[in-house]
C-alpha cells in the first residue's frame, strides 16, 4: 500500500500521481493521511485503484470518479463524488450538501447523514444513505436510485424526472411533481440488491418509493401553479 501524507505533500501532488497511473498499474492500493479538510482530494480518478482517506475531507472529494473505489473514513464537505461516472465512493461519516450531484454512474454510499440537495440533478448514479438527507434532495433527479434509510427533509424530489427514490423514514414534504408510488415486488427486489451492494443493513419491505408524476414534462396551462 502506498501512503501519502498530506502534511508533507500537496493535494496537487497526490492527485497528479494518481492521474499519471498507467492503465495496467500495479499501484492499486493507496492510503491518504492528514487530509485536514482539504478540497478536491482524489478528484478525477480514472483507474481501478482503491483509495482510503483517513480523516475529514473538504469540498468535491472524489469528484468525477471513474473506476476507482474511494473510502473516506471521516466526514466530507460539499459535493462529494459530484459527477461520479463509475466506481464507488463510501463516506463513513456524514456528508455536507450536494453529495453525488449530477452523478452519472457508479455507487455513492454515505453511512451517516447527508445534508441538503443530496443527489441534486443525479443522472444515473446510485446513492445509498444510511442516515437522513436534508432539504431539496434529488432536485431535478433524472435517473438512478436514491435510497435513504432515515428521513428526508423538505421538498424531496422537486421537479424530478425518472430517478427512483426510496425512503424508510419520514418525508417532511414532497417537491413539485414528486409523488409516492407503489412498491412492487420488483422494486423490493431491486432495493434489496442495492442495499446489499452498498453493505447497508435494511429491510427493503419497510421503504416507500417516490418518483415523478410526469406532469411537468410538458407545459400545460392547468399546471401553471406547479411551475
Amino acid at each position: 500500500m502506498i501512503t501519502v501524507d498530506l502534511a508533507a505533500e500537496t493535494v496537487r501532488d497526490l492527485n497528479q500521481r494518481l492521474h499519471d497511473l498507467p492503465a495496467d498499474t500495479n499501484e492499486r492500493a493507496w492510503r491518504v493521511v492528514n487530509p485536514k479538510g482539504a478540497h478536491a482530494l482524489v478528484a478525477g480518478l480514472d483507474r481501478p485503484v482503491d483509495v482510503l482517506i483517513e480523516g475529514h475531507v473538504g469540498y468535491y472529494c472524489a469528484g468525477m470518479n471513474k473506476h476507482a473505489s474511494v473510502v473516506i473514513d471521516g466526514h466530507c464537505g460539499v459535493g462529494v463524488a459530484e459527477n461520479i461516472m463509475s466506481g464507488e465512493v463510501r463516506v463513513k461519516g456524514n456528508a455536507s450538501q450536494s453529495a453525488g450531484a449530477s452523478g452519472q454512474g457508479g455507487l455513492l454510499v454515505i453511512e451517516g447523514d447527508a445534508s441538503a440537495r443530496c443527489g441534486i440533478s443525479m443522472k444515473g448514479v446510485d446513492i445509498v444513505v444510511g442516515g437522513s438527507v436534508g432539504h431539496m434532495s434529488a432536485f431535478m433527479a433524472q435517473t438512478g436510485n436514491l435510497v435513504v434509510c432515515g428521513d428526508a427533509g423538505q421538498s424531496l424530489g422537486d421537479s424530478i424526472y425518472e430517478a427512483k427514490l426510496y425512503v424508510q423514514g419520514k418525508v417532511e414534504s414532497l417537491g413539485a411533481d414528486c409523488i409516492e408510488k407503489a412498491m412492487t415486488p420488483h422494486h423490493v427486489e431491486k432495493l434489496g440488491r442495492l442495499l446489499a451492494r452498498a453493505g447497508v443493513k435494511g429491510d427493503p419491505n419497510k421503504f416507500k418509493r417516490y418518483g415523478s408524476a410526469r406532469k411537468l414534462y410538458h407545459f400545460h396551462v392547468d399546471h401553471a401553479d406547479a411551475y
Binding site: K36, G37, H39, H56, H75, G93, N94, Q97, S115, G134
Partner: protein, 299 residues
C-alpha cells in the same frame, strides 16, 4: 464569498491559547476572504466603573494621546490608552454612552469599532495572516472570539466595511451571505434611533439583533425573530458578553460546520479551519441545520 470562524472556550484552562487557535482558524479561511479580516475577542474585563472602546483611525500616527488627554479633562475621567497599529483601546472611568457621545462630537473622524467591558475589535484590509501579525492576535487570551475573512461582493473593500460589526455593548456579528431586504430594515432601525456607520448589509443585521436584544429578547429569541425578519442568505456567528450563537437561513446555501468537545465549541465556514484544533479528531462534528438557532453561554 466570505469565511467566518468562532471559538468559544468551555474550559478556562484553554484561555491563554484563544488567540493562537483563532489565528489558525482565521488564516484557514484565507481563500474564502483575502480582501480584509477582522476579529472580536472577549477578554480583560474592566472594572464596573470603567468601559473600554476599540477605536480606529487610518493614520498610524494619529494623536491618540492628545485625544485621550482632552477626553479625560472634559469627562473628569481617567483614560488608559493601549495602541495596536492603527487601532487603540481606550479604558475610561466613565459610562460607555457618554464616551461614545464625546468622541462623535469632538472627533467624528475616529471610528468606534467596538465597546463594552470585555470586547475588543480589530479589523483591517489585507490577508488574514497580515492582520493576525499586525494586531498580535496569537498572543491574545480570552474566553471567546469570532472572526471574519472578507471577499467583498456588496460594498467596498475598506476597514470600515470589514467585519465584525458591533451594534451594542459587548455584542458583535460576523456574516457570510447577503441580505435582500436590508434597505427596508435600515429604515425600520433608523426610526428606532439607530445611526449607521456604513452601507453594509451585515451592519443592518448586527443592529437588527441589537434592537431585539434591547427590546428584552434573550439571545435565542432575538435569533428566532431574525429568521422571520431577515430575508436573504446568511450564516451568522454572534458573540455577546457571555454567549455565542450560530444561525443559518432556511435555504442554507452558505456553509457552516461546528465542532464541540468538553473544552470548546468551534464554528467555521469550512472544516479546514477547524482541522488543527486540539482534540478535534474526537470532537462531535456536524453541520448546523437550516433555520435552527444554536447558542452557548458561559456557566
Amino acid at each position: 464569498m466570505c469565511g467566518i470562524v468562532g471559538l468559544f472556550l468551555k474550559n478556562p484552562a484553554l484561555r491563554p491559547q484563544l488567540g493562537r487557535h483563532l489565528s489558525t482558524m482565521l488564516i484557514g479561511m484565507t481563500e474564502r476572504g483575502p480582501d480584509s479580516a477582522g476579529i472580536a475577542v472577549y477578554h480583560k474585563p474592566v472594572a464596573a466603573s470603567q468601559c473600554k472602546l476599540t477605536l480606529f483611525h487610518a493614520d498610524p500616527h494619529y494623536h491618540w494621546r492628545a485625544v485621550g488627554g482632552q477626553m479625560g479633562e472634559d469627562l473628569s475621567a481617567e483614560v488608559d490608552i493601549e495602541v495596536k497599529a492603527n487601532h487603540v483601546v481606550f479604558t475610561v472611568t466613565s459610562d460607555e454612552a457618554t464616551v461614545r457621545h464625546w468622541i462623535k462630537e469632538h472627533h467624528p473622524e475616529v471610528r468606534i469599532m467596538g465597546y463594552g467591558q470585555l470586547m475588543e475589535v480589530y479589523k483591517d484590509m489585507g490577508l488574514p495572516a497580515e492582520v493576525v501579525d499586525k494586531y498580535s492576535v496569537r498572543a491574545m487570551e480570552g474566553s471567546h472570539a469570532i472572526g471574519h475573512t472578507r471577499m467583498a461582493t456588496e460594498s467596498a473593500v475598506t476597514t470600515e466595511h470589514s467585519h465584525p460589526f458591533t451594534a451594542a455593548s459587548d455584542m458583535c456579528l460576523v456574516h457570510n451571505g447577503s441580505l435582500s431586504n436590508h434597505n427596508n430594515l435600515r429604515k425600520w432601525l433608523h426610526k428606532r434611533g439607530h445611526e449607521f456607520e456604513t452601507d453594509n448589509d451585515s451592519e443592518v443585521a448586527a443592529r437588527y439583533f441589537a434592537q431585539r436584544l434591547d427590546e428584552g429578547a434573550t439571545l435565542p429569541e432575538a435569533l428566532e425573530a431574525g429568521l422571520r425578519d431577515l430575508d436573504g442568505f446568511y450564516t451568522f456567528t454572534m458573540g455577546t458578553r457571555d454567549g455565542f450563537a450560530v444561525l443559518r437561513d432556511g435555504i442554507a446555501c452558505k456553509p457552516a460546520v461546528l465542532a464541540e468537545t468538553d473544552d470548546y465549541v468551534a464554528m467555521a465556514s469550512e472544516f479546514r479551519s477547524l482541522a488543527n484544533l486540539p482534540g478535534v479528531d474526537k470532537a462531535t462534528i456536524w453541520e448546523p441545520k437550516p433555520a435552527v438557532v444554536y447558542t452557548w453561554s458561559l456557566q
